[in-house]
Symmetry: C2
Subunit: 218 residues, 2 copies
DNA sequence: TAGATTGTTAATCGATTAACAATC
DNA sequence: TAGATTGTTAATCGATTAACAATC
Protein backbone atom coordinates (compact mmCIF):
# COMPACT_ATOMS: atom_id res chain seq x y z
CA UNK A 1 0.00 0.00 0.00
CA UNK A 2 3.15 2.16 -0.16
CA UNK A 3 1.77 4.38 2.57
CA UNK A 4 -1.66 5.45 1.61
CA UNK A 5 -0.80 8.44 -0.53
CA UNK A 6 1.72 8.98 -3.26
CA UNK A 7 4.06 10.15 -0.53
CA UNK A 8 7.20 8.10 -0.10
CA UNK A 9 9.76 8.95 2.56
CA UNK A 10 12.51 9.62 0.05
CA UNK A 11 15.81 10.92 1.34
CA UNK A 12 15.74 8.62 4.35
CA UNK A 13 16.89 5.25 5.40
CA UNK A 14 14.57 5.21 8.39
CA UNK A 15 11.68 2.77 8.04
CA UNK A 16 8.37 4.63 8.05
CA UNK A 17 6.91 1.96 10.30
CA UNK A 18 9.48 2.89 12.93
CA UNK A 19 8.67 6.60 12.65
CA UNK A 20 5.01 5.70 13.13
CA UNK A 21 5.74 4.08 16.48
CA UNK A 22 7.64 7.01 17.95
CA UNK A 23 4.42 8.90 18.79
CA UNK A 24 3.22 5.87 20.76
CA UNK A 25 6.46 5.77 22.71
CA UNK A 26 6.19 9.48 23.32
CA UNK A 27 2.65 9.16 24.60
CA UNK A 28 3.42 6.30 26.96
CA UNK A 29 6.50 8.09 28.28
CA UNK A 30 4.47 11.24 28.88
CA UNK A 31 1.99 9.29 30.99
CA UNK A 32 4.87 7.76 32.93
CA UNK A 33 6.32 11.20 33.59
CA UNK A 34 2.93 12.38 34.83
CA UNK A 35 2.91 9.42 37.20
CA UNK A 36 6.15 10.74 38.60
CA UNK A 37 8.43 8.05 37.23
CA UNK A 38 11.97 9.11 36.34
CA UNK A 39 13.31 6.13 34.41
CA UNK A 40 11.95 3.16 32.53
CA UNK A 41 13.22 0.15 30.62
CA UNK A 42 12.45 -1.19 27.18
CA UNK A 43 10.74 -4.07 28.94
CA UNK A 44 8.41 -1.90 31.00
CA UNK A 45 7.59 0.30 28.02
CA UNK A 46 6.97 -2.81 25.94
CA UNK A 47 4.52 -4.17 28.48
CA UNK A 48 2.57 -0.92 28.48
CA UNK A 49 2.36 -0.88 24.72
CA UNK A 50 1.92 -4.58 24.10
CA UNK A 51 5.10 -4.98 22.10
CA UNK A 52 8.49 -6.60 22.55
CA UNK A 53 11.33 -4.89 24.37
CA UNK A 54 13.60 -5.80 21.47
CA UNK A 55 11.48 -3.82 19.08
CA UNK A 56 11.58 -0.75 21.27
CA UNK A 57 15.34 -0.89 21.71
CA UNK A 58 15.83 -1.44 18.00
CA UNK A 59 13.49 1.39 17.04
CA UNK A 60 15.13 3.87 19.39
CA UNK A 61 18.62 2.83 18.32
CA UNK A 62 17.75 4.03 14.82
CA UNK A 63 18.00 7.58 16.12
CA UNK A 64 20.74 7.39 18.73
CA UNK A 65 21.82 5.88 22.01
CA UNK A 66 19.35 7.14 24.56
CA UNK A 67 19.66 4.54 27.30
CA UNK A 68 22.16 3.29 29.85
CA UNK A 69 22.99 -0.34 30.43
CA UNK A 70 21.68 -1.56 33.73
CA UNK A 71 19.52 1.53 34.21
CA UNK A 72 17.31 1.92 31.19
CA UNK A 73 16.04 5.22 29.84
CA UNK A 74 15.67 8.55 31.59
CA UNK A 75 12.07 9.43 30.81
CA UNK A 76 12.38 13.20 30.66
CA UNK A 77 15.42 13.02 28.44
CA UNK A 78 13.87 10.50 26.08
CA UNK A 79 10.70 12.58 25.79
CA UNK A 80 12.84 15.55 24.82
CA UNK A 81 14.71 13.54 22.21
CA UNK A 82 11.54 12.12 20.70
CA UNK A 83 9.92 15.54 20.52
CA UNK A 84 12.97 16.82 18.72
CA UNK A 85 13.11 13.89 16.30
CA UNK A 86 9.43 14.28 15.48
CA UNK A 87 9.85 18.06 15.12
CA UNK A 88 7.31 18.84 17.81
CA UNK A 89 9.33 21.52 19.58
CA UNK A 90 7.59 24.37 17.81
CA UNK A 91 3.84 24.22 17.67
CA UNK A 92 2.38 23.30 14.28
CA UNK A 93 -0.59 25.49 13.36
CA UNK A 94 -3.23 23.28 11.80
CA UNK A 95 -6.24 24.18 9.66
CA UNK A 96 -9.50 22.31 10.13
CA UNK A 97 -11.44 22.26 6.90
CA UNK A 98 -15.13 21.52 7.32
CA UNK A 99 -17.09 22.74 10.33
CA UNK A 100 -19.76 20.06 10.59
CA UNK A 101 -20.16 17.86 13.65
CA UNK A 102 -16.72 16.37 13.14
CA UNK A 103 -14.92 19.66 12.47
CA UNK A 104 -16.66 20.97 15.55
CA UNK A 105 -15.43 18.03 17.65
CA UNK A 106 -11.87 18.42 16.37
CA UNK A 107 -11.81 22.15 16.97
CA UNK A 108 -13.05 21.67 20.51
CA UNK A 109 -10.63 18.87 21.30
CA UNK A 110 -7.96 20.17 23.62
CA UNK A 111 -5.66 17.18 23.22
CA UNK A 112 -3.71 18.79 20.37
CA UNK A 113 -2.10 21.36 22.58
CA UNK A 114 0.88 20.24 24.59
CA UNK A 115 1.43 17.60 21.97
CA UNK A 116 2.75 19.83 19.26
CA UNK A 117 -0.32 21.13 17.47
CA UNK A 118 -2.78 23.97 17.63
CA UNK A 119 -5.96 24.22 15.62
CA UNK A 120 -5.57 27.72 14.27
CA UNK A 121 -8.21 28.06 11.56
CA UNK A 122 -11.57 26.52 10.73
CA UNK A 123 -13.16 26.77 7.31
CA UNK A 124 -16.59 25.97 5.95
CA UNK A 125 -18.56 26.80 2.83
CA UNK A 126 -21.97 26.93 4.53
CA UNK A 127 -23.04 30.57 5.05
CA UNK A 128 -24.90 29.42 8.16
CA UNK A 129 -21.66 28.28 9.73
CA UNK A 130 -19.37 31.08 8.62
CA UNK A 131 -18.82 33.52 11.45
CA UNK A 132 -19.84 30.99 14.09
CA UNK A 133 -17.42 30.73 17.00
CA UNK A 134 -15.81 27.43 17.93
CA UNK A 135 -13.50 27.14 20.89
CA UNK A 136 -12.30 30.69 20.39
CA UNK A 137 -12.00 30.52 16.61
CA UNK A 138 -14.32 32.05 14.07
CA UNK A 139 -15.36 29.87 11.15
CA UNK A 140 -13.88 31.33 7.96
CA UNK A 141 -15.44 31.15 4.52
CA UNK A 142 -13.98 28.47 2.28
CA UNK A 143 -13.09 31.19 -0.20
CA UNK A 144 -10.40 32.34 2.23
CA UNK A 145 -8.72 28.92 2.29
CA UNK A 146 -5.85 29.52 -0.14
CA UNK A 147 -5.11 33.07 0.96
CA UNK A 148 -4.97 32.12 4.62
CA UNK A 149 -2.79 29.05 4.12
CA UNK A 150 -0.38 31.03 1.98
CA UNK A 151 -0.25 34.09 4.18
CA UNK A 152 0.19 32.08 7.38
CA UNK A 153 2.49 29.45 5.92
CA UNK A 154 0.35 26.62 7.20
CA UNK A 155 1.65 23.16 6.33
CA UNK A 156 -0.78 20.76 8.00
CA UNK A 157 -4.53 20.39 7.69
CA UNK A 158 -7.32 18.18 8.89
CA UNK A 159 -9.94 17.41 6.28
CA UNK A 160 -13.48 17.02 7.61
CA UNK A 161 -15.63 17.67 4.56
CA UNK A 162 -17.97 15.21 2.79
CA UNK A 163 -16.36 12.69 0.43
CA UNK A 164 -17.87 14.49 -2.56
CA UNK A 165 -15.89 17.67 -1.81
CA UNK A 166 -12.72 16.06 -0.47
CA UNK A 167 -10.61 15.82 -3.62
CA UNK A 168 -11.37 19.35 -4.80
CA UNK A 169 -10.62 20.84 -1.39
CA UNK A 170 -7.43 18.78 -1.21
CA UNK A 171 -6.22 20.10 -4.55
CA UNK A 172 -6.79 23.65 -3.34
CA UNK A 173 -4.99 23.06 -0.05
CA UNK A 174 -2.02 21.45 -1.77
CA UNK A 175 -1.77 24.28 -4.28
CA UNK A 176 -1.71 26.74 -1.38
CA UNK A 177 1.12 24.97 0.44
CA UNK A 178 -0.34 22.24 2.66
CA UNK A 179 2.09 19.31 2.87
CA UNK A 180 0.39 16.93 5.32
CA UNK A 181 -3.30 16.07 5.49
CA UNK A 182 -5.19 14.04 8.03
CA UNK A 183 -8.34 13.06 6.18
CA UNK A 184 -11.64 11.94 7.65
CA UNK A 185 -13.27 11.68 4.24
CA UNK A 186 -13.94 8.05 3.24
CA UNK A 187 -12.15 8.27 -0.06
CA UNK A 188 -8.64 7.72 -1.34
CA UNK A 189 -7.15 11.13 -2.13
CA UNK A 190 -4.79 11.78 -5.01
CA UNK A 191 -1.91 14.09 -4.12
CA UNK A 192 1.58 14.91 -5.46
CA UNK A 193 4.41 12.76 -4.12
CA UNK A 194 5.65 15.47 -1.78
CA UNK A 195 2.35 15.59 0.12
CA UNK A 196 1.47 13.15 2.88
CA UNK A 197 -2.01 11.91 3.59
CA UNK A 198 -3.10 9.79 6.50
CA UNK A 199 -6.63 8.58 6.99
CA UNK A 200 -9.02 8.10 9.84
CA UNK A 201 -11.82 5.79 8.80
CA UNK A 202 -14.08 4.42 11.52
CA UNK A 203 -16.07 2.29 9.10
CA UNK A 204 -12.91 0.66 7.81
CA UNK A 205 -11.80 -0.12 11.36
CA UNK A 206 -15.16 -1.58 12.32
CA UNK A 207 -15.28 -3.68 9.15
CA UNK A 208 -11.79 -4.96 9.89
CA UNK A 209 -12.85 -6.07 13.35
CA UNK A 210 -16.17 -7.52 12.20
CA UNK A 211 -14.22 -10.26 10.43
CA UNK A 212 -13.11 -11.68 13.77
CA UNK A 213 -16.18 -11.11 15.92
CA UNK A 214 -18.51 -14.01 16.57
CA UNK A 215 -22.07 -12.81 16.38
CA UNK A 216 -23.08 -15.04 19.27
CA UNK A 217 -21.08 -14.97 22.44
CA UNK A 218 -18.82 -18.00 22.65
CA UNK B 1 3.15 -4.38 17.89
CA UNK B 2 1.13 -7.61 17.63
CA UNK B 3 -1.95 -5.65 16.74
CA UNK B 4 -2.49 -3.04 19.30
CA UNK B 5 -4.48 -5.04 21.82
CA UNK B 6 -3.94 -8.45 23.32
CA UNK B 7 -6.10 -9.75 20.51
CA UNK B 8 -4.42 -12.20 18.18
CA UNK B 9 -6.29 -13.71 15.26
CA UNK B 10 -5.94 -17.27 16.53
CA UNK B 11 -7.69 -20.01 14.60
CA UNK B 12 -6.73 -18.52 11.28
CA UNK B 13 -4.05 -18.69 8.70
CA UNK B 14 -5.18 -15.47 7.07
CA UNK B 15 -2.77 -12.58 7.62
CA UNK B 16 -4.43 -9.79 9.57
CA UNK B 17 -2.84 -7.24 7.27
CA UNK B 18 -4.78 -8.80 4.38
CA UNK B 19 -8.07 -8.68 6.30
CA UNK B 20 -7.39 -5.02 6.98
CA UNK B 21 -7.21 -4.23 3.28
CA UNK B 22 -10.52 -5.86 2.38
CA UNK B 23 -12.55 -2.87 3.62
CA UNK B 24 -10.51 -0.62 1.32
CA UNK B 25 -11.24 -2.87 -1.63
CA UNK B 26 -14.88 -2.93 -0.68
CA UNK B 27 -15.04 0.84 -0.48
CA UNK B 28 -13.35 1.40 -3.84
CA UNK B 29 -15.55 -1.22 -5.50
CA UNK B 30 -18.66 0.41 -4.06
CA UNK B 31 -17.66 3.75 -5.59
CA UNK B 32 -17.06 2.02 -8.90
CA UNK B 33 -20.49 0.42 -8.76
CA UNK B 34 -22.03 3.83 -8.06
CA UNK B 35 -20.23 5.14 -11.12
CA UNK B 36 -22.07 2.48 -13.10
CA UNK B 37 -19.08 0.27 -13.82
CA UNK B 38 -19.75 -3.46 -14.08
CA UNK B 39 -16.26 -4.95 -14.08
CA UNK B 40 -12.77 -3.95 -13.04
CA UNK B 41 -9.27 -5.39 -13.02
CA UNK B 42 -6.66 -5.75 -10.30
CA UNK B 43 -4.69 -3.11 -12.16
CA UNK B 44 -7.48 -0.53 -12.19
CA UNK B 45 -8.30 -1.17 -8.55
CA UNK B 46 -4.63 -0.91 -7.69
CA UNK B 47 -4.36 2.46 -9.39
CA UNK B 48 -7.32 3.79 -7.41
CA UNK B 49 -5.87 2.60 -4.15
CA UNK B 50 -2.21 3.32 -4.83
CA UNK B 51 -1.09 -0.26 -4.53
CA UNK B 52 0.19 -2.99 -6.83
CA UNK B 53 -2.13 -5.20 -8.85
CA UNK B 54 -0.19 -8.22 -7.62
CA UNK B 55 -1.04 -7.42 -4.04
CA UNK B 56 -4.73 -7.15 -4.81
CA UNK B 57 -4.81 -10.44 -6.69
CA UNK B 58 -2.86 -12.17 -3.96
CA UNK B 59 -5.05 -10.77 -1.20
CA UNK B 60 -8.27 -11.79 -2.93
CA UNK B 61 -6.95 -15.23 -3.77
CA UNK B 62 -6.64 -15.88 -0.04
CA UNK B 63 -10.43 -16.14 0.06
CA UNK B 64 -11.33 -17.67 -3.28
CA UNK B 65 -11.23 -17.26 -7.02
CA UNK B 66 -13.37 -14.25 -7.74
CA UNK B 67 -12.08 -13.15 -11.12
CA UNK B 68 -11.96 -14.33 -14.71
CA UNK B 69 -8.86 -14.36 -16.86
CA UNK B 70 -9.05 -11.78 -19.59
CA UNK B 71 -12.04 -10.05 -18.01
CA UNK B 72 -11.17 -9.19 -14.44
CA UNK B 73 -13.65 -8.99 -11.58
CA UNK B 74 -17.39 -8.51 -11.71
CA UNK B 75 -17.85 -5.60 -9.31
CA UNK B 76 -21.27 -6.48 -7.93
CA UNK B 77 -20.25 -10.07 -7.35
CA UNK B 78 -16.99 -9.15 -5.65
CA UNK B 79 -18.76 -6.63 -3.41
CA UNK B 80 -21.13 -9.39 -2.33
CA UNK B 81 -18.28 -11.76 -1.60
CA UNK B 82 -16.34 -9.20 0.41
CA UNK B 83 -19.39 -8.26 2.43
CA UNK B 84 -19.90 -11.91 3.21
CA UNK B 85 -16.26 -12.51 4.15
CA UNK B 86 -16.25 -9.48 6.42
CA UNK B 87 -19.59 -10.53 7.93
CA UNK B 88 -21.34 -7.33 6.95
CA UNK B 89 -24.52 -8.91 5.65
CA UNK B 90 -26.44 -8.37 8.85
CA UNK B 91 -26.20 -4.95 10.40
CA UNK B 92 -23.99 -4.71 13.50
CA UNK B 93 -25.62 -2.63 16.23
CA UNK B 94 -22.95 -0.46 17.78
CA UNK B 95 -22.90 1.40 21.09
CA UNK B 96 -21.33 4.84 21.29
CA UNK B 97 -19.98 5.46 24.77
CA UNK B 98 -19.43 9.12 25.57
CA UNK B 99 -21.72 11.84 24.26
CA UNK B 100 -19.32 14.76 24.11
CA UNK B 101 -18.49 16.57 20.86
CA UNK B 102 -16.97 13.42 19.42
CA UNK B 103 -19.75 11.06 20.48
CA UNK B 104 -22.14 13.59 19.02
CA UNK B 105 -20.27 13.64 15.71
CA UNK B 106 -20.16 9.85 15.54
CA UNK B 107 -23.84 9.48 16.36
CA UNK B 108 -24.77 11.98 13.69
CA UNK B 109 -22.53 10.45 11.05
CA UNK B 110 -24.67 8.65 8.52
CA UNK B 111 -21.79 6.82 6.87
CA UNK B 112 -22.16 3.76 9.09
CA UNK B 113 -25.43 2.69 7.53
CA UNK B 114 -25.22 0.85 4.25
CA UNK B 115 -21.76 -0.23 5.30
CA UNK B 116 -22.77 -2.76 7.89
CA UNK B 117 -23.22 -0.75 11.08
CA UNK B 118 -25.87 1.15 12.94
CA UNK B 119 -25.28 3.32 15.96
CA UNK B 120 -27.98 1.95 18.23
CA UNK B 121 -27.22 3.36 21.69
CA UNK B 122 -25.43 6.36 23.13
CA UNK B 123 -24.29 6.53 26.74
CA UNK B 124 -22.98 9.30 28.94
CA UNK B 125 -22.49 9.86 32.65
CA UNK B 126 -23.25 13.58 32.59
CA UNK B 127 -26.80 14.24 33.90
CA UNK B 128 -26.91 17.26 31.58
CA UNK B 129 -26.53 15.01 28.55
CA UNK B 130 -28.69 12.10 29.64
CA UNK B 131 -32.04 12.28 27.91
CA UNK B 132 -30.75 14.54 25.16
CA UNK B 133 -31.68 13.42 21.65
CA UNK B 134 -29.02 12.74 19.05
CA UNK B 135 -29.94 11.74 15.53
CA UNK B 136 -33.04 9.95 16.76
CA UNK B 137 -31.39 8.32 19.78
CA UNK B 138 -31.79 9.31 23.40
CA UNK B 139 -28.60 9.51 25.47
CA UNK B 140 -28.72 6.77 28.12
CA UNK B 141 -27.18 6.97 31.57
CA UNK B 142 -23.85 5.20 31.91
CA UNK B 143 -25.40 3.08 34.63
CA UNK B 144 -27.43 1.33 31.95
CA UNK B 145 -24.34 0.28 30.01
CA UNK B 146 -23.96 -3.33 31.17
CA UNK B 147 -27.68 -4.11 31.24
CA UNK B 148 -28.24 -2.75 27.74
CA UNK B 149 -25.25 -4.50 26.20
CA UNK B 150 -26.25 -7.80 27.77
CA UNK B 151 -29.95 -7.54 26.98
CA UNK B 152 -29.35 -6.50 23.38
CA UNK B 153 -26.37 -8.77 22.76
CA UNK B 154 -24.26 -5.90 21.47
CA UNK B 155 -20.76 -6.93 20.42
CA UNK B 156 -19.17 -3.73 19.11
CA UNK B 157 -18.67 -0.35 20.71
CA UNK B 158 -17.07 2.98 19.97
CA UNK B 159 -15.31 4.57 22.91
CA UNK B 160 -15.43 8.35 23.05
CA UNK B 161 -14.80 9.13 26.70
CA UNK B 162 -11.81 10.99 28.21
CA UNK B 163 -8.58 9.01 28.66
CA UNK B 164 -9.07 9.04 32.43
CA UNK B 165 -12.29 7.04 32.16
CA UNK B 166 -11.37 4.83 29.22
CA UNK B 167 -9.94 1.77 30.96
CA UNK B 168 -12.70 1.53 33.54
CA UNK B 169 -15.43 1.87 30.91
CA UNK B 170 -13.64 -0.69 28.76
CA UNK B 171 -13.57 -3.22 31.58
CA UNK B 172 -17.29 -2.78 32.08
CA UNK B 173 -18.07 -3.14 28.39
CA UNK B 174 -15.95 -6.26 28.09
CA UNK B 175 -17.56 -7.83 31.15
CA UNK B 176 -20.95 -7.17 29.57
CA UNK B 177 -20.09 -8.85 26.27
CA UNK B 178 -18.43 -6.31 23.98
CA UNK B 179 -15.85 -8.03 21.78
CA UNK B 180 -14.60 -5.23 19.51
CA UNK B 181 -13.84 -1.66 20.49
CA UNK B 182 -12.95 1.31 18.35
CA UNK B 183 -11.28 3.67 20.78
CA UNK B 184 -10.79 7.41 20.43
CA UNK B 185 -9.19 7.69 23.86
CA UNK B 186 -5.46 8.47 23.64
CA UNK B 187 -4.38 5.59 25.83
CA UNK B 188 -3.41 1.97 25.30
CA UNK B 189 -6.25 -0.19 26.61
CA UNK B 190 -5.74 -3.50 28.36
CA UNK B 191 -8.24 -6.15 27.32
CA UNK B 192 -8.51 -9.96 27.39
CA UNK B 193 -7.08 -11.78 24.36
CA UNK B 194 -10.52 -12.46 22.90
CA UNK B 195 -11.33 -8.75 22.64
CA UNK B 196 -10.18 -6.58 19.77
CA UNK B 197 -9.28 -2.92 20.08
CA UNK B 198 -8.47 -0.55 17.28
CA UNK B 199 -7.50 3.05 17.80
CA UNK B 200 -8.15 6.36 16.16
CA UNK B 201 -5.58 8.89 17.29
CA UNK B 202 -5.36 12.16 15.36
CA UNK B 203 -2.44 13.41 17.43
CA UNK B 204 -0.46 10.25 16.69
CA UNK B 205 -1.15 10.65 12.97
CA UNK B 206 -0.14 14.31 12.94
CA UNK B 207 3.02 13.55 14.90
CA UNK B 208 3.88 10.80 12.43
CA UNK B 209 3.54 13.20 9.53
CA UNK B 210 5.38 16.03 11.27
CA UNK B 211 8.57 13.98 11.02
CA UNK B 212 8.54 14.39 7.24
CA UNK B 213 7.22 17.93 6.82
CA UNK B 214 9.66 20.72 6.12
CA UNK B 215 8.67 23.75 8.11
CA UNK B 216 9.60 26.04 5.26
CA UNK B 217 8.26 25.34 1.80
CA UNK B 218 10.93 23.79 -0.41
C1' DT C 1 31.00 -6.68 42.74
C1' DA C 2 26.62 -8.71 40.85
C1' DG C 3 22.53 -7.73 38.57
C1' DA C 4 20.26 -5.34 35.13
C1' DT C 5 19.66 -3.62 30.78
C1' DT C 6 21.37 -1.55 26.74
C1' DG C 7 22.65 -1.55 21.58
C1' DT C 8 23.52 -4.62 17.96
C1' DT C 9 24.10 -8.81 15.27
C1' DA C 10 22.37 -12.75 13.05
C1' DA C 11 18.46 -15.67 12.46
C1' DT C 12 13.80 -15.96 11.66
C1' DC C 13 9.65 -14.77 10.10
C1' DG C 14 6.35 -12.54 7.13
C1' DA C 15 4.90 -9.52 3.32
C1' DT C 16 5.46 -7.78 -1.31
C1' DT C 17 6.70 -8.16 -5.99
C1' DA C 18 7.86 -10.11 -10.43
C1' DA C 19 6.89 -13.27 -13.65
C1' DC C 20 4.23 -16.48 -16.18
C1' DA C 21 1.32 -20.55 -17.34
C1' DA C 22 -3.50 -21.03 -17.61
C1' DT C 23 -7.50 -19.55 -19.68
C1' DC C 24 -11.44 -16.48 -20.55
C1' DT D 1 -8.03 -16.43 -32.71
C1' DA D 2 -5.31 -12.75 -30.15
C1' DG D 3 -5.28 -9.92 -26.27
C1' DA D 4 -6.09 -9.42 -21.58
C1' DT D 5 -5.94 -10.73 -17.04
C1' DT D 6 -6.25 -14.02 -13.55
C1' DG D 7 -4.25 -17.09 -9.69
C1' DT D 8 -0.01 -18.77 -8.10
C1' DT D 9 4.89 -19.72 -7.58
C1' DA D 10 9.39 -18.33 -6.47
C1' DA D 11 12.36 -14.55 -5.52
C1' DT D 12 13.02 -10.51 -3.13
C1' DC D 13 12.57 -7.44 0.26
C1' DG D 14 11.71 -5.79 4.90
C1' DA D 15 10.45 -6.29 9.76
C1' DT D 16 10.69 -8.76 14.07
C1' DT D 17 12.86 -11.54 17.40
C1' DA D 18 16.37 -13.95 20.01
C1' DA D 19 20.56 -13.77 21.95
C1' DC D 20 24.53 -11.81 23.93
C1' DA D 21 28.76 -8.99 24.59
C1' DA D 22 29.38 -4.59 26.53
C1' DT D 23 28.82 -1.88 30.38
C1' DC D 24 26.39 0.98 33.80
Amino acid sequence: MSNGSGFSPVHNTIPDIVVGRLPLYLRALTYMAEEGKATTSSQELGERLGMSSAQIRKDLSTFGEFGKQGTGYHIGYLIGQLRQILKLDDEWRVAVVGAGFLGHALTNYNGFRHRGFRISWVFDSDPEKIGEEMNGLVVQPMGELEATIQREGSRMAILAVPASAAQEVTDRMVAAGIRAILSYAPINLTVPPYVQVRYSAPVVELQHMAFYVDKALV
